[in-house]
């Protein structure tokens, strides 16, 4: 039997260094391919890349914007990772984010009317964001755990419900009477917003994902629940064998997962936007899925990857300031993602083998003599 000249072989094991190397290779390849496209459309790739890197890493303002953009991504992705660890594909981060923002705004409206101090109002908003996001995820989690309903469909569909619900509120009952008819809620008072840090949009909500990641690491390595998460994630059959209650874990993971997305929604309205609107997210919930996946569901890796994505988001805006269409910036994001996910994943699972390997068939004559050897 002929063997082709170039074949892909399954890799069995890969060191951490190799993994990082492959990731870097994929990013470089994506950048090169992106440069080709920019050049083909008649713009200067060097200028474009300078703008992108400058927009995310060039100076305090750029760094601060980059970090601000990574906060919602990291927070949602940490929650998504908890669900993915028990092999529940929660695609509903976007909706849970909006529901968290909605609940926090509800509390803010009540609190602002009652002139609550910030020390009471902010924690109440965080708690309400968590609870609302958790509830929004608990329903599909319950359907999945007890009736086997596909959670990918239910969580995705609930995203639309959540976004439309928020839109209804800001076009209707919660519209700011002094807002010139824009679909925004009234502006949050100082007692309902996170203090700004450094320059630009960076705010105290930065500590939310950092704290969450530390807690996540501790839970994974030091608690019974974390142990169960690891076992279920790596081998559900062994989890069943060990008598781990998988339904309970699905419910718990969905509550935490939705709760984190809800907190992210609260942090975004309270830290950056300061109003509720139908545009508080630029697909953070979906991008967070990729962040969680690229971070291989490890909390610390997720923090790093979310900064990378924060940089990509910012870079997209930055190119438009040097006369290059912003669409090209977003195109670049897509290309880099494609290379990292496609090529990086392929190379970390397969090895490219060039050249022939020994043939499969020995050269014995085709006859089978009946024999009895027992």
């Amino acid at each position: 039997m002929r063997a082709p000249l170039i074949t892909l072989e399954r890799r069995t094991d890969l060191s951490l260094g190799r993994r990082a190397g492959i990731l870097a290779l994929a990013v470089v390849a994506g950048l090169l391919f992106g440069a080709l496209l920019i050049w083909l459309t008649g713009y200067d790739p060097v200028k474009a890349y300078t703008a992108i890197f400058g927009g995310s890493f060039g100076g305090g303002y750029a760094l601060s914007q980059m970090l601000a953009a990574s906060i919602p991504l990291a927070t949602i992705a940490l929650g998504t990772a908890v669900a993915f660890r028990v092999r529940i594909w929660n695609i509903g981060g976007e909706g849970q984010f909006y529901m968290g923002a909605f609940a926090a705004t509800g509390v803010e409206l009540a609190g602002a009317a009652g002139r609550w101090p910030g020390l009471l109002l902010i924690p109440a908003m965080i708690a309400s964001g968590f609870v609302m996001g958790a509830l929004w995820a608990a329903f599909p989690g319950w359907l999945r755990a007890y009736f086997g309903v596909n959670e990918i469909i239910t969580t995705l569909m609930l995203n639309y419900v959540a976004i439309l619900w928020v839109n209804y509120l800001v076009y209707g009952p919660w519209k700011d009477p002094a807002g010139h008819n824009f679909p925004f809620s009234p502006r949050f008072p100082g007692s309902a917003t996170f203090p700004r840090l450094w320059e630009g949009q960076l705010h105290a909500g930065l500590f939310v994902p950092i704290l969450a990641a530390i807690v996540f690491v501790f839970v994974l390595s030091r608690t019974q629940w974390g142990y169960e998460l690891r076992v279920i994630g790596e081998n559900p059959t062994a989890a069943h064998y060990a008598g781990i209650n998988i339904r309970r874990n699905i419910m718990l993971a969905m509550l935490v997962s939705g709760g984190m997305a809800g907190i992210a929604g609260m942090v975004q309205v309270s830290g950056v936007v300061h109003v509720l609107s139908g545009q508080i997210s630029t697909n953070y919930g979906y991008t967070a899925i990729i962040v969680a996946w690229l971070g291989q569901l490890h909390p610390m890796a997720i923090l790093v990857v979310s900064m990378l994505f924060g940089a990509l988001v910012n870079g997209g805006f930055a190119v438009s300031q040097v006369g290059i269409p912003q669409a090209l910036g977003f195109l670049l994001q897509g290309i880099i993602l494609f290379f990292v996910l496609g090529m990086g994943d392929l190379l970390s699972r397969y090895r490219v083998v060039v050249g022939r390997r020994e043939p499969l068939v020995a050269s014995t004559p085709p006859e089978a003599a009946p024999s009895m050897t027992a």
Binding site: M1, T223, E234, N235, A242, P365, A368, A369, S371, A374
Partner: protein, 527 residues
């Protein structure tokens, strides 16, 4: 041989229909076929006999183009062929009906058969298919309604559709993988006459089975596989007694002397009272099992794989709920208790698939050590884990069971099969269990590792543990057991004391021969 209605057979020759030489096929950890030679003639029904896991399905999947062999050659009608895909095999007139049918449930019989038409890729010739189905089903008595969707058909009807599909694609060599496993006795009889008729036209039928009696009724010749090797090639069915075949299939090495238990108590540790259960396909797997295990004995379960042993182990380990009956542990009713409950009540479980079920390959040994103890003191402390205690516990397991070269941080899947099995034993033993379910505890192990496992089983028996040993290796069962229970089709057909457990008699019972035709434990004698 042209039958004149659009399903001609190319002229059959004196060449063997199929000739496979020196077939090797390795899967990770298993050599499924080793140097297998197989040959079948035109116009015969050739049975491929062997226990589950003997390599029958693998060999035939190679012939059907599903697997590539690691080595070996295949000739069809004297012509050397290369089968890179099932499509290639169909081109050469090879059709296989798998155990799991490959039909589209939402489509009708006719639509499913359309898939097989290769000469009109863009035109859906429904009329032609309908007439094909009529012709074929009349000729072979394969009654099906072409307009019914597959999901409405019984399993037996679906099987007929699969056979029709193979014939319509021009199969000259038809392979049937355990076709009677899902059929009622009447359906089986009909299938047998269909098979005879297909062969009488000059086609070759290869019939995979582990049931001796049905093979006797239909096959002209038989090839027997054991442990991936041929132990009887192309034997004439007429000249073989059931006894000979059973011996070939199960092996005939002399068992070593049994070492009687040193434990003297006769408290019942585990009792199954009329326990029934269904398997993953919702078919009855256990039928009213009665069994008693006393402390300090090994009860071996002998049987051809697939007769309910797996489900029996799962019921005792709390992984499968019985549908009827009662399960008692040391006098307490534990019917329907889950795996966690059974573990806490003192049942240890050495699972069949150590890396797939008993361990988490990607996690370090320390995490695997905790699988049955992370929720108990001293490892658990409130919701937290005490890592120092976990480390100490893991080190203890590694040391006590002499797992050379392993540390608590070793990645589990990188250990050898023998090391893994020792580790599973060590972990399961750590809780001082009252009863142990051991399923194929030495499968895939080398002699030294197997001996270590045997010694461990014997010494924990002497310490008063009740051990339910399930193994496909009859020698192992005879060598270790104080009593032997024979399982056939989900029932215990006999329980014998080790002294009376004559391997020939057990072998016949295992394949459902004569004495067990009317299963009646009392008649077969309980020693």
């Amino acid at each position: 041989m042209d039958s004149g209605d659009g399903f001609p057979l190319s002229v059959t020759t004196d060449h063997p229909a199929v000739s496979m030489v020196g077939i090797d096929k390795h899967f990770p950890e298993v050599a499924a076929n080793q140097g297998v030679n197989f040959s079948a003639r035109w116009g015969e029904v050739h049975a491929l006999l062997g226990e589950n896991g003997a390599g029958k399905s693998t060999l035939m999947s190679i012939l059907a183009g599903l697997y590539k062999p690691d080595a070996g050659q295949i000739a069809i009608d004297g012509q050397l062929v290369e089968l890179h895909s099932p499509g290639d095999a169909i081109q050469h007139g090879i059709g296989m009906v798998y155990q799991h049918y490959k039909l589209v449930p939402s489509q009708t019989v006719a639509e499913n058969l359309l898939l097989g038409l290769k000469d009109s890729p863009f035109r859906l010739d429904k009329r032609r298919v309908a007439s094909d189905i009529r012709t074929l089903s009349e000729r072979y008595h394969l009654r099906v309604d072409p307009e019914r969707p597959i999901w409405q058909l019984s399993v037996g009807e679906q099987q007929r559709v699969e056979i029709l599909k193979a014939l319509q694609r021009g199969a000259r060599i038809l392979i049937l993988d355990e076709p009677t496993a899902v059929l009622t006795p009447q359906e089986s009889d009909e299938l047998m006459s269909t098979i005879r008729q297909i062969a009488s036209e000059g086609r070759t039928v290869i019939f995979i089975s582990h049931k001796l009696e049905e093979v006797r009724g239909v096959a002209d010749r038989v090839t027997v596989l054991r442990g991936g090797k041929v132990v009887g090639a192309g034997l004439d069915m007429a000249g073989m007694s059931t006894r000979d075949l059973a011996r070939l299939m199960i092996g005939s090495e002399v068992a070593t002397e049994v070492r009687p238990s040193r434990h003297s108590s006769h408290d019942v540790a585990l009792r199954l009272d009329g326990v029934s259960a269904i398997d993953d396909r919702d078919l009855p797997a256990l039928r009213s099992i009665n069994l008693e295990l006393t402390a300090g004995e090994i009860l071996g379960v002998a049987g051809v794989a697939g007769n309910g042993q797996r489900e029996l182990a799962q019921v005792v380990a709390g992984l499968r709920r019985p549908t009827a009956g009662r399960l008692e542990l040391a006098g307490k009713d534990v019917t329907g208790a889950g795996a966690r409950h059974m573990a806490l009540a003192g049942v240890a479980h050495i699972p069949e698939d150590r890396l797939g079920e008993g361990l988490v390959g990607n996690l370090p040994l320390q995490d695997n050590a905790l699988l049955k103890s992370y929720y108990k003191a001293p490892i658990a402390s409130g919701p937290f884990l005490r890592l120092a205690a976990a480390l100490e516990f893991t080190r203890g397991l590694i040391q006590r069971f002499g797992i050379a070269g392993a540390t608590p941080r070793s990645t589990t899947r990188l250990l050898s099969g023998g090391q893994l099995q020792r580790f599973v034993l060590a972990r399961e033993m750590a809780s001082n269990p009252r009863a142990v379910v051991a399923v194929h505890p030495t499968r895939g192990l080398d002699v030294a590792a197997a001996a270590a496992v045997h010694n461990w089983l014997l010494s924990s028996r002497d310490d008063g543990c009740a051990i339910l040993l399930i193994s496909e290796d009859l020698d192992e069962v005879l060598q270790l057991s104080d009593r032997v229970a024979v399982m056939y089709e989900g029932q215990i057909v006999a329980v014998l004391k080790s002294g009376e457990a004559d391997r020939e008699r057990i072998g016949l019972m295992m394949v459902g021969s004569s004495s067990s035709k009317v299963p009646s434990p009392a008649a077969v004698g309980e020693g």
